[in-house]
């Protein structure tokens, strides 16, 4: 059989506008950050070569910049771990409770999706008001019950608020992903399980969970990246405080680069930050794309 298709790659020219856009929106700014990361400046666009100085500063935990960066990194990793540990099991549990047919499906899905439709800064404002000790429903109630709670003074309260806020905002996404995964399981599996007299747990462990693995990896990637790059919500609710207790990487980066106009430290910080997200993304991406191929082989 001969291949009669016309070989014509000119369609690639249609990609050019996107390339130009990416160049201006991402590549040139990124290159500038790399340039800033090896130089020092006194303003007026006068730059001096500083070599790897900023990076050395950042990685050395005895310097101020190093302490700040490593503290923020550690806090951010703990935060990501905590919200994943809550949101993934919760999302699975919620998805198992969503009805599979009937009019209830639409109603339940819409209600569950509601938090996802709220803009980040509005989520922040909602929780900031909700946890205020004077007019906030949660904050004032807790204090009335003599439970110490103040997001402005007490780091535990601030962390509690931010974790609960993220769980409220994003568990629905995990739940919806899992629901889509569950819907893809043919009824025959469940019928076979019923004939074998399988328990509810056995059905979950042997039928549902294996089928959920793929969507869970995607959900975990999305939530890890989302929580690792979180900025708006903690910025609105706590502003990174009290002290530095909720200063995650992006908040600390904005403080350094824009607040203190410390371009060198900020640039080095954002490059290391970027390297971490890039590596994690790549690992997740290769895992998800190649896990399928291994199955097929």
């Amino acid at each position: 059989m001969t291949d009669n298709r016309v070989w014509d790659n000119r369609a690639w020219f249609f990609v050019l506008p996107v390339m130009v856009f990416v160049l201006f929106s991402s590549l040139l700014p990124m290159m500038t950050v790399v340039n800033y990361s090896v130089q020092d400046t006194m303003g007026q666009n006068n730059f001096f070569w500083n070599g790897a100085g900023w990076f050395a500063n950042l990685l050395d935990s005895s310097t101020e910049a190093g302490q700040r960066f490593q503290g923020a990194l550690l806090r951010n990793l703990i935060f990501s771990f905590v919200i994943l540990a809550i949101e993934v099991p919760l999302g699975i549990a919620v998805s198992l409770c969503i009805p599979k047919r009937g009019w209830q499906v639409g109603a339940v899905l819409v209600v569950i999706a509601l938090p996802l439709l709220i803009p980040y800064n509005v989520v922040g404002v909602i929780w900031q008001l909700f946890t205020r000790t004077d007019v906030g429903l949660l904050g004032a109630s807790l204090n009335a019950l003599h439970i110490p709670f103040d997001t402005r003074q007490d780091a535990t309260s601030a962390w509690f608020t931010i974790v609960i806020m993220d769980v409220w905002h994003w568990s629905s996404m995990v739940a919806l992903l899992c629901y889509a995964g569950l819907k893809a399981i043919p009824d025959a599996y469940y019928q076979a399980a019923r004939i074998d007299g399988a328990s509810r747990w056995a059905v979950f462990a042997n039928i549902e969970f294996p089928k959920l693995r793929k969507v869970l990896v995607i959900g975990m990637l999305l939530r890890f990246m989302g929580s690792f790059m979180i900025y708006t919500e903690p910025f609105v609710v706590t502003g990174g405080g009290p002290g530095e207790s909720t200063s995650f990487l992006s908040i600390d980066l904005v403080k350094t680069a824009l607040g203190q106009v410390d371009l060198g430290n900020g640039a080095a910080m954002s490059l290391v930050y970027n390297l971490i997200t890039l590596t994690v993304c790549w690992i997740f991406f290769t895992y998800t794309t190649h896990a399928d191929q291994r199955k097929d082989a």
Binding site: V34, A52, L278
Partner: protein, 97 residues
């Protein structure tokens, strides 16, 4: 050149960073040419999954970044050492991955 220095002043270019980005661009150009001239099929190596030249190049770059950061972390001075290590790693990547 005056026009460039006037309008790209905010980007604060140095010759070192120009060489850095230039060599990445050159590598990408070489990879593109190779993809046209000698198309490849992905192969499975020590990483345990199929990789193309592009994958190996990307992993080499990421590895190089970590090697340089580690070198700075332990307080090294001469960037020649991590550069050699990174190049050796990249060569290993292209050969065995």
């Amino acid at each position: 050149m005056d026009y460039l220095s006037e309008h790209l002043g905010w980007m604060a270019w140095t010759w070192q960073t120009m060489v850095f980005f230039g060599s990445i661009a050159a590598c990408l150009a070489i990879l593109t040419t190779l993809a046209v001239v000698r198309p490849e099929t992905p192969r499975v190596g020590i990483l345990g999954f199929a990789t193309t030249r592009g994958d190996r190049f990307f992993v080499s770059l990421i590895l190089a970044a970590f090697i340089f950061l580690f070198f700075i972390k332990i307080g090294g001075d001469n960037p020649l050492y991590p550069a050699v290590v990174a190049l050796l790693m990249a060569a290993a990547m292209f050969r065995f991955a």
